[in-house]
């Protein structure tokens, strides 16, 4: 599990998405190839806004999971800490997502909190 988690550290600590310079599309999560342009696409990494809007959400296993939309239309699933409703604004927060048991490594990532 360690290498799998390590490989994504950059992309979890900050919301790093992909931007295709050929067609101007954004993709989150980060990906190597643009589905519209395929081999003709030039895909670069780009950081998303630190704020977004809640499109929808659920509460499962005691956690609030929301689908958040950024200004450029890109969407991200993340845990949200705090009270939210559809349409409210949220901003990113650096939090623990879990751990590989008490002796294993800790997983950090981006969650969101409502903007008061």
């Amino acid at each position: 599990m360690v290498p799998r988690i390590w490989r994504r550290i950059r992309y979890r600590y900050n919301v790093i998405a992909s931007y295709c310079e050929s067609c101007g599309s954004y993709y989150y999560p980060q990906r190597e190839i643009c589905p519209k342009c395929r081999r003709k696409g030039i895909v670069k990494e780009t950081e998303m806004d630190s704020e977004g809007t809640v499109l929808s959400y659920t509460v499962v296993n005691g956690r609030k999971i929301a689908l958040i939309e950024f200004k450029n239309g890109t969407r991200m699933l993340a845990e949200v800490c705090g009270d939210i409703e559809i349409g409210c604004r949220v901003k990113k927060a650096f939090r623990r997502y879990g751990e590989d048991g008490e002796a294993g490594i800790i997983y950090y990532g981006t969650k969101f909190v409502p903007i008061n």
């Binding site: 994504r8 999560p29 589905p35 959400y57 659920t58 499962v60 999971i65 929301a66 969407r75 993340a78």
Partner: protein, 383 residues
């Protein structure tokens, strides 16, 4: 080449403690052979839908294992396992269909098998059907993904939790007359509304149970079918489509693009329109999935799925009965077997052998979905 189904068989679905993974298939396979009136030596290939014997029972390489324990080891036929999460069954059916349609084989078996109850937490395993890196990691599981879709559907179209409940009630009512169903008791809308939340707004009774089960269908080309069978059921179309894997990348999370693509193509190939479909088995892993299926399959306009269930259109006796077998909700969802079980139930209906749940049908449609919609298989069957 035209392809027909000449034999079907299924186990009951449920918590089958006395059946192991390898013993599960036997009765389904034998029933199918008997139903087709063949001994087994005629079978040229076996396609087995199974989502995750590896995670459920630590067993990989299961096609050969099952072929062996089904008594086919002496014939050494090609055996392959097909995996597309809970669309494994439908996908196996399509592979089998293509083998016969192409002339590669004359008679094949399409099977589906899943043994979930040996695992500690079957829903954990089913949740490996969603994006492990970007959906699972952040705390979502399969019900959570559907719940997010459900909440937005309610917000945008005014669908209510009661509408979802009515779908569960309908399916349980239908299953009373299905001897192979896991749950054969009626439930009320109040029962559903009072059941605890699994992932808000979806409650326990909005979610299909994960079950053990196995089903099998035998496909043959038209010439053999006419020779062996009094009531062949023809596969008019069997299409499949994929979609962006994570709901983060779907254009509109309230539409399952894979379902729309696969069904449009199926309607085109079969020259049958949605209004000509007399009966359907759809993938109600969650009640919201059945409601959206009404829209994506063209039985209702986008956003008006609730209308259909409110007006009783999808009940037995309605305009387009859906899940007369009880669906995944009441039959049980034996993951990889579900897609095949749907075919079995439609064939029984089309032959007129459905007893108390009989619907007068000429054209039937089966919809099998994988995970949160990244795979969809649509089959149209006719007499």
């Amino acid at each position: 080449m035209k392809v027909a189904i000449i034999g079907v068989g299924t186990t009951e679905f449920g918590e089958l403690w006395d059946k192991s993974f390898r013993s599960l298939f036997l009765s389904a396979g034998l029933s199918a052979l008997e139903d087709a009136g063949i001994s087994g030596k005629e079978i040229e290939a076996i396609y087995i839908g199974n989502m995750s014997a590896g995670k459920f029972v630590d067993q990989e390489h299961i096609a050969a294992l099952i072929a062996d324990h089904a008594g086919l080891a002496e014939f050494g036929i090609p055996a392959i396992r097909v995996e597309n999460a809970d669309a494994s069954g439908g996908s196996a059916f399509r592979q089998a269909y293509m083998a016969v349609a192409s002339g590669m084989h004359d008679i094949v078996i399409a099977a589906g098998i899943e043994k979930v109850s040996d695992a500690n937490d079957p829903m954990e395993v089913l949740s490996s059907a969603i994006d492990q890196e970007w959906e699972r990691f952040i705390g979502a599981n399969l019900p959570a993904i559907y719940a997010i879709i459900a909440r937005l559907h309610m917000h945008k179209f005014g669908t209510k939790e009661e509408d979802f409940a009515m779908i569960a009630v309908k399916n349980h009512k239908n299953a009373v007359h299905n001897p192979k169903a896991q749950f054969r008791k009626e439930i009320s809308v109040e029962d559903v509304m009072n059941s605890p939340y699994v992932a808000e707004p979806l409650k326990v009774l909005d979610c299909a149970p994960l079950s053990d089960g196995a089903s099998a269908v035998i496909l043959a080309n038209e010439e053999i079918a006419k020779r062996l069978c009094d009531t062949p059921v023809y596969v008019k179309a069997c299409t499949q489509a994929s979609d962006y894997f994570s709901i983060q990348n779907r254009r509109d999370i309230l539409t399952f693009e894979a379902v729309v693509k696969a069904s449009r193509r199926a309607y085109k190939i079969s020259k049958i329109e949605p209004k000509d479909i007399n009966i359907a088995e759809v993938h109600d892993s969650f009640t919201i999935a059945e409601l959206i299926a009404y829209e994506d399959l063209g039985f209702a306009k986008k956003g008006e799925g609730a209308k259909l269930i409110r007006e009783g259109e999808t009940e037995i006796g309605g305009r387009i009965p859906v899940n007369t077998s009880g669906g995944l909700k009441a039959c049980g969802h034996a993951v990889g077997a579900t897609g095949i079980r749907q075919i079995v139930d439609l064939v029984i209906q089309l032959r007129g052998e459905a007893g108390k749940r009989q619907v007068n049908a000429e054209n039937a449609l089966a919809l099998n979905i994988g995970g949160s919609g990244a795979t969809a298989v649509v089959s149209i069957l006719s007499r």
